[in-house]
């Protein structure tokens, strides 16, 4: 896809870059200021998890085309340790690092579609979409 925006995530500085790219794309797609901030916040959480748990990975941003709607898709991908129990990780307050444990369940609340696939020892892919309404 030529429109993909790919941000390599290797340090906490890349988190800022990724959410700024997301902000720009979301605004260009026509999202309101509120939704732009929701999208930037979701990117921030996903990118930080990459830095914290996988060390490195990438955030890919792309325009989503539905049958009669447009949106923004965020893909977070890493080849880190994976998540042993996705069910646990999706629960409010669950954290293996002393965090608030709100990143993943929070992101799910911020977006319209949420897909997660994680294989222990292989890595984690999270794909979320927010639609314009």
């Amino acid at each position: 896809m030529p429109d993909d925006i790919r941000v390599l995530i290797r340090s906490n500085l890349d988190i800022v870059t990724a959410r700024q790219e997301g902000r720009t794309l979301a605004a260009r797609t026509g999202f309101s200021a509120t939704d732009v901030t929701l999208i930037a916040t979701a990117i921030s959480e996903l990118a930080r998890n990459i830095v914290s748990y996988a060390g490195q990975g990438e955030i890919v941003l792309r325009l989503a085309e539905g049958t009669n709607s447009r949106g923004v898709m965020i893909v977070s991908r890493d080849s880190g340790p994976g998540i042993r129990s996705v069910d646990d990780a999706m629960r409010d307050g669950y954290s293996t690092s002393g965090g608030l444990g709100l990143g993943l369940p929070g992101v799910r609340r911020l977006v319209d579609e949420f897909f997660i696939e994680s294989v222990p020892g292989r890595g984690t892919t999270i794909r979320v979409t927010k639609w314009l309404r």
Binding site: E45, G99, G103, L110
Partner: protein, 120 residues
């Protein structure tokens, strides 16, 4: 992007001027605590008007700042959380429990003054 900290009498005012990285936030935490000790400050205002995102890390760090400064007997007020940012925080499930917030700098200062009066 370092956050400037201004000393105004017995208060300190930290004004965030652009998007902050995690490192910047941790630096702010360290710098504020150092200044509070150095100047024996009674209150701290953190102005987050320019902050684009308050995610779990930023929220946790601001909360830590408030608690640490409280251990020095000083109050902290977070001012200027933008409406969109506040909305995203609520959706994410983030709370600023035990942390004072105010609309802007002026109200933040008024809050600190009230606190100072009621404790003297």
């Amino acid at each position: 992007m370092e956050v400037p900290i201004l000393k105004q009498g017995r208060y300190l005012i930290a004004t965030i001027q652009a998007a902050l990285s995690d490192e910047d936030l941790l630096h702010l935490r360290r710098a504020l605590l150092e200044r509070v000790i150095q100047f024996r400050s009674r209150g701290v205002i953190v102005d987050v008007t320019a902050l684009d995102v308050m995610d779990s890390f930023a929220t946790r760090t601001l909360r830590d700042i408030t608690y640490m400064i409280r251990l020095r007997g000083a109050d902290t007020v977070i001012v200027g959380i933008q409406p969109e940012v506040a909305f995203a925080m609520v959706q994410l499930g983030l709370t600023l429990e035990g942390v004072a917030t105010a609309l802007d700098l002026e109200e933040g200062l008024a809050h600190l003054e009230r606190r100072a009066r009621s404790s003297s």
